[in-house]
Amino acid sequence: MSVVEFMQLDLVPMLAAILACVTCGLLGTLLLLTRNSMMGDAISHAVLPGIAAGFWVTGTRASLPMLAGAMGAAVVAVVLIGLIRRLGRLEPGAAMGVVFSGLFALGLLMLVWSGADRVDLDIDCVLYGILETLIWPAAEGPASLIDPVALAALPEELWLLAGMFAVTLTCLLLFWKELRLAAFDPAFGAVIGFDPRPVRALLMLLIAAACVAAFWAVGSILVIAALIGPPAIARLLTERYAAQFLLAAAVGAAIATVGYLAAALVPAALGAAQGFNAAGMIAVMAGLGFALAAQLSPFRRGVVKQRRAAP
């Protein structure tokens, strides 16, 4: 395979997968630390009607109305979950199950109704992602990376992902202390008069936006792997707050790269006509990575005890 071919067919999907997994990994770390992992699952399903509505309005795939629609749907989902929990006096899992499956089903129907004649947003995209379609035909070699004309022809989904990554990083750095307090010691926060709700709301909105951005890369269901896989693996390897974020980002980049290569390049190198689904492979890598990290973890059961007993 030549460099040009790689740049045209594989560079953009790989970058998109890496950006999606790193962004989701950073946000997912906060979900994991606040013990809200299933909330990520719920939001990633619930944004679908918002995405469908945004697509309805604009007819394009990466747009601000779509982001706004998804955030609106996420807010509706969170409010509904709270309402159902309170009124029905139900465990959170049940309330979540009702809301996210209901909104997801609604989103599916909206997609089918609105998109029967549109080929670029269909149900396959929701289920499998469309990494493989993010090609860059304008690339003619390494020089294209600094050629404004060629860069302008990059798929707009990539810019959306890069924008989400920048926004996430900025928010993390700006609210580092507040997020830490909300995650670890809400009781202490309450004592010093810190209200964690705005920070939590911001986190939910960011996750909704990241779900939209990652939707194009890995689809609506596998985005959970990108949200929870990297932080869960990092959690097995470190106890430190800052290291947890850095590791999650690194793991996100790693599973995206390895998953994409395993799906796209390995079958091609073996001479198969068709690659595996890359988004699915990335999710599988998240699972395998967790199993591997569980074996290597310095905190796995028994190890800590042995170390403490040793001296």
């Binding site: 139900l90 869960a232 699915g280 967790f290």
Partner: protein, 446 residues
């Protein structure tokens, strides 16, 4: 045209095959609603979702394996067996991941759900490249396509759903004990582990039965939503279970009819949206837990609090100025004392006028108590002071705190408790009991 088809399907007159499919989906909804009650009460809603997603790699692997062995890869039993196997493996994987003790259950579930589904997606892309091709049938396992169901497949669905329902009914009492009080179940000699396992098996049975018609993504919705809807309407499991089964059956029936009239729609989504519509109706109108009932209850409470505060404020004002009970009093002072905004005090005054407790005085901004208002105000003041005295005498609470405490409880103090407290005060100190009655007449010492 679509409407006509929908009603024809709904009344089972769109042809024999469509009728069997509609009945199959209804039977599935019945079983899912029934089993879903126990899944919900045992707190297993999310694990059911994980298991459902984890069926995909098993289904795809069964398809690939059957193709490799030269069997018919579209044999429904084979695909369902593969799905059940990998769903069980998924449930075990959640346990293993949670056993690392570094991530909680919810993270373990999210991880297994997505990794399992991802593996399924990878295997699906393998299926697509098989020479037999024809992956079209398999993708129906994800979102469901009841309209394309063959008659024998629909009959299988009905059979499995009935088996699951019968088992759930037979195990009703032991499962009920298990769901509500596991420790008691163990102490009374029930085989808790076996029961738990049979509940999981029931859940898996319903899941794989619904795969082809409803799809693995939304199969859990049919277990959770009818059960939650029934939960909003009743407190008793013996009512909740049949209600959930009925709601599930109706959702399946109506949803499958829709899907028969418009075969392009994913059946699972149509059925789920139908179930959600029923849920929203229950959430709004449930007499005990509905939004409307809660809003009415809050409004009623708000009125009572406003009424009590206004009446007591009026009485205390009149008392302080040593005026008679039917003398005019200023509402502005009362509103200021309670920190009411203009609209808030206007609402309170309007409500009390409508209730005939106060009437406007000649001077603007002043009101008078009506005879009924005098009686009500006496009752309110009396309740407040009785409770205040009770708190200081019996509870040793300081006077100011007693005042606050009485403020908080007097609106909800039931009459029998009030009578009991008064009786206690009278027996403890008759003089005090007399003091509790507010001095009602002009010129009497405050």
């Amino acid at each position: 045209m679509m409407n006509a088809d929908f009603f024809a399907a709904l009344t089972l007159s769109l042809g024999h095959n469509a009728a069997v499919v509609v009945l199959g989906c209804a039977a599935f909804g019945l079983a899912a609603g029934l089993v879903g009650c126990f899944v919900l009460l045992r707190g297993r809603a999310l694990i059911a979702d994980v298991a459902a997603h984890a069926t995909l790699p098993g289904v795809a692997a069964a398809f690939i394996g059957a193709t490799a062995l030269g069997l018919d890869p579209r044999n429904l039993w084979l695909l369902m067996a593969g799905g059940a196997l990998s769903a069980a493996l998924g449930a075990l994987a959640v346990r293993a991941a949670a056993a690392t003790r570094r991530v909680r259950d919810d993270a373990a579930m999210a991880l297994v759900l997505s990794a399992g589904f991802g593996l399924g997606v990878v295997l699906m892309s393998v299926v697509q490249s098989l020479p037999t091709g024809g992956q079209a049938g398999l993708s129906h396992f994800i979102l469901g396509q009841a309209a394309g169901l063959a008659e024998v497949e629909a009959q299988t669905l009905i059979g499995l759903a009935l088996v699951a329902s019968v088992i759930a009914v037979l195990l009703f009492n032991p499962l009920r004990v298990l769901c509500f009080d596991e420790a008691f179940a163990a102490a009374s000699g029930l085989p808790v582990r076996a029961l738990d396992l049979s509940l999981t098996a029931l859940m898996l049975l319903v899941t794989v039965a619904g795969l082809r018609a409803v799809g693995l993504i939304l199969v859990v919705a049919l277990m959770v939503i009818p059960a939650v809807t029934a939960r909003l309407l009743t407190e008793r499991l013996s009512i909740m279970a049949p209600l959930a089964a009925a709601l599930g059956a109706v959702s399946g029936w109506v949803g499958a009819s829709f899907s028969a009239a418009a075969p392009g729609l994913p059946t699972g989504a149509v059925i789920t949206v139908t179930a959600c519509a029923l849920f929203l109706i229950a959430l709004t109108l449930s007499p005990t837990r509905g939004v409307v009932a809660a809003g009415l209850g809050r409004a009623r409470m708000g009125y009572r609090i406003g009424r009590d505060h206004l009446l007591r404020g009026a009485w205390e004002e009149l008392e302080q100025l040593r005026l008679g009970p039917d003398a005019p009093f200023a509402t502005a002072a009362i509103a200021a004392a309670w920190g009411w905004s203009g609209p808030r005090s206007l609402i309170a005054v309007t409500a009390l006028r409508a209730a005939g407790l106060v009437r406007p005085a000649h001077e603007p901004g002043f009101l008078r108590l009506t005879p009924a208002g005098i009686v009500a105000a006496q009752g309110v003041v009396r309740r407040h002071r009785v409770w205040e005295l009770y708190l200081t005498r019996a509870g040793g609470v300081r006077a100011f705190a007693a005042h606050r405490g009485a403020d908080l409880i007097e609106h909800t103090l039931p009459p029998d408790v009030e009578a009991e407290v008064e009786a206690w005060l009278a027996s403890a100190d008759p003089a005090i009991a007399r003091l509790a009655v507010p001095p009602p007449v002009e010129g009497a010492p405050a």
